[in-house]
Amino acid sequence: MDETGKNDQRSILLIEDSDDCARMLKFLFTRQGYTIFHAIDGIEAQTMIDTINQPSVVILDMMLPYANGLQLLANIRNKPSWSNIPVMLLTSDGTTGTIVKAFELGANDYVVKPYKPMELVVRIKRLAASSPGTRANA
């Protein structure tokens, strides 16, 4: 990948602190042909946002050590080259307030844990298809 703003074709930035959950997501999406970049906390996630090329999609857990998902979402949207990258929120907190707040900050979709794995795969593929970088590379 280059520095022209195009994202890595079919890559996902997975920000998830639970080993079990991350292991399953990595398996599901690696099998679909995605390259996975995995951050386990807010600090590592911020470092990846600052350093790696644009992914096709960001999967973002809400509850993380050091920085929560909403803070990271705001940082993603404030970074010009990432401002249109689709973000899927993964949350155990399905309350309306949290979800509305996430959409206000620019989330594209959300899934409440526990979730249907195959449904998540389909939703991520749909988001990846609409990702500006993916279209540019297609």
């Binding site: 079990d20 398996f27 309306t96 526990p114 979730y115 249907k116 195959m118 449904e119």
Partner: protein, 360 residues
């Protein structure tokens, strides 16, 4: 001075013997610690290897059951059970049953039953969760016995497992226990009821709330409220109509009405604004804050002078949070009330513009 001459002294000999004994003991102790550490590292490595091997097999099983899954050593079943539970707790829908097909295929149902009956407490608890996830009907009798276990962990997990296996037949008995088992974690019970669904839990819980002692009925009404069982609204209204009602039960009914009913219940709630127990007045005020209208403003303003600080505070909060309340209106109220009332209104008046913007 030679070693021989030193050891000829009885005291020196005793000191030497003691020194050798303690040194040997320390060496043995160090050896044991090192061995235990090595054993632990080997066990953790074995566990990681097992998880690395079996996780993909489980994930594959969500699409198709592997035809020849690898064998499992007796010492690995606990890790298998933990991995299985972890995966089952993170997914919903038909995929859960596909994972169960794999678990049964490798004989996990029989192993889980054995561990529930014979294992130590931590293994038994994990096995109870696993049998619930497996929807293992042959475990029902054992689980029903565990419902009465003196350990709240065992009994609550058994209740949850039974609800997963056969919610319709288990709920009547579990509803009674929801009232009587004060040692059950409220959060755990609410999670269990929400998972079972309103349709399953509403009627049995309402039956218990209608006939139980005041303490138990209050507890069950709390669960009906948390599980969003709107079917319990008429019941709460009926209970409030009883003579000489226990205050805890009164509060539980008011809370339920505030959470699940509409403005049609306002006349009932307004009747408790002058109750002799300040806790009841407080919950009536909170309910009015949720359901009330501009018609309640005058009553609320008079409660800003209540003898109890908490009632005054919650009244000020409820007034400030009314949808029709504006900054100007709040400041106007502040000019018309006593100094005591002004004290509780001040922080809400000061933060009102900010709260209006951030509230969702």
């Amino acid at each position: 001075m030679t070693l021989h001459s030193i050891l000829s002294d009885p005291l020196a000999r005793l000191a030497a013997i003691l020194g050798i004994v303690f040194f040997s003991f320390s060496v043995i102790l160090l050896g044991v610690v090192v061995l235990m550490r090595l054993w632990r590292l080997a066990r953790d490595r074995r566990k990681r290897q097992f998880i690395d091997l079996w996780s993909p097999i489980f994930y594959e099983s969500m699409a198709e059951t592997p035809k020849t899954p690898p064998g499992i050593l007796a010492s690995d079943w606990i890790t298998f059970m933990q991995l299985y539970n972890s995966i089952q707790e993170s997914i919903v829908g038909e995929t859960k049953e596909k994972v169960n097909v794999l678990a049964r295929h490798v004989g996990f149902d029989r192993v889980a039953l054995k561990l529930m009956r014979q294992g130590r407490l931590s293994h038994r608890l994990t096995a109870i969760i696993a049998l619930g996830n497996l929807c293992e009907h042959s475990a029902k009798n054992d689980l029903q016995e565990f419902l009465l276990d003196k350990s709240p962990y065992v009994s609550l997990l058994a209740a949850r497992a039974l609800l997963r296996i056969d919610s319709q037949s288990a709920m009547a008995r579990i509803a009674v226990l929801c009232g009587s088992r004060e040692d059950w974690s409220s959060v755990g019970v609410i999670e269990m009821l929400n998972e079972a669904g309103t349709d399953t839990v509403a009627d049995p819980l309402s039956m218990v709330a209608a006939h139980a002692s005041p303490d138990e009925a209050a507890r069950v009404l709390g669960f009906l409220e948390a599980a969003k069982c709107t079917i319990a609204v008429p019941l709460a209204r009926d209970i409030l109509g009883r003579q000489g009602l226990d205050d805890r039960l009164t509060i539980a009914c008011i809370r339920l009405l505030a959470e699940l009913a509409g403005p049609e219940e306002l006349p009932v709630i307004r009747g408790y604004l002058q109750h002799h127990n300040w806790c009841v007045r407080l919950h009536a005020v909170k309910a009015l804050g949720r359901l009330g209208s501009v018609d309640d403003e005058a009553d609320m303003i008079s409660l800003l002078d209540d003898e109890n600080w908490w009632v005054r505070f919650r009244t000020a909060e409820a007034l400030a949070n009314f949808s029709f309340m504006t900054m100007a209106r709040l400041l106007d109220i502040k000019t018309r009330v006593s100094t005591k009332a002004q004290e509780v209104l001040t922080p809400f008046a000061a933060t009102h513009p900010f709260r209006s913007k951030v509230s969702m």
